[in-house]
């Protein structure tokens, strides 16, 4: 299936792109992140990140569906 991944902040810099479409068999965000980590050098581990699917917070083991939009959220620093 096709998943669109958006990157922000440090992850965007480390992925060297702000958005990519990936063809994957990853069933969950956890599996997807592990797969992406083989192509990119991410300095942040899943325990430091949160996940959003289609613009809402989600869990690492939520089932992914075709055309989902996934964001891995680095530690925030607003304000």
């Amino acid at each position: 299936m096709k998943i669109r991944v958006q990157y922000f902040a440090l992850l965007r810099e480390q992925a060297r792109c702000s958005q990519e479409d990936v063809q994957t068999q990853a069933a969950t965000p956890a599996a997807l992140f592990a797969e992406l980590g083989r192509r990119h050098t991410f300095s942040l581990s899943p325990s430091q990140l949160k996940v959003a699917i289609n613009g809402d917070f989600a869990s690492w083991d939520q089932a992914l569906a075709d055309n989902d939009m996934v964001v891995f959220i680095p530690p925030v620093a607003g304000g």
């Binding site: 958006q6 922000f8 902040a9 440090l10 965007r12 810099e13 991410f42 300095s43 942040l44 581990s45 325990s47 430091q48 959003a52 613009g55 809402d56 917070f57 964001v71 959220i73 680095p74 530690p75 925030v76 620093a77 607003g78 304000g79």
Partner: protein, 149 residues
């Protein structure tokens, strides 16, 4: 718009006026200003980046929670995105209430929650030429490249 982003200077006077209420006796506002120093390093400028779609949802939930949790009249938060210089206003929170105690508590609640929960990131550019994403560089558990960018 309980929570919104601004790409230009926040008009605090207009924002305050939008919370006016003849039944409100107290108004508390918080302004986050860009400091020239963070964790001992001289900051020259910085930039904010947001996952806007989720940030507006989450920020709105925070202000709604404050309106539910505290006896207040109106509340609002506006956050800057993009590049900012020292002294510039990065975030504004305003709360009007019948009584001041609730306005103080709600204002503090909102800014604390916004800082902890809303997907906004801050990259600091230091006077020594280095730069870094706040809260992302120092806590990285994987191999760490503090000067990679």
């Amino acid at each position: 718009m309980l929570f919104s982003f601004s790409e230009s200077a926040i008009d605090t006077a207009a924002a305050s006026r939008s919370l006016a209420d003849p039944g409100a006796g107290g108004f508390v506002s918080f302004e986050g200003w860009v400091r020239n120093l963070n964790e001992g390093r001289r900051v020259q400028k910085l930039e904010y980046e947001a996952f806007t779609q989720l940030a507006i949802k989450e920020g709105t939930r925070i202000v709604e929670a404050a309106l539910h949790k505290f006896a207040i009249r109106h509340a609002r938060c506006i956050h800057r995105v993009g590049p900012l210089n020292i002294g510039e206003l990065a975030v504004w929170v305003g709360v009007s209430a019948e009584h001041r105690g609730e306005a103080f508590d709600a204002c503090r609640f909102i800014i604390d929650e916004v800082k902890h929960r809303v997907p906004i990131w801050k990259k600091e550019h230091y006077e020594d030429g280095d730069s870094g994403w706040v809260n992302c560089e120092h806590c990285a558990a994987a191999p760490h490249h503090p000067h990679a960018h």
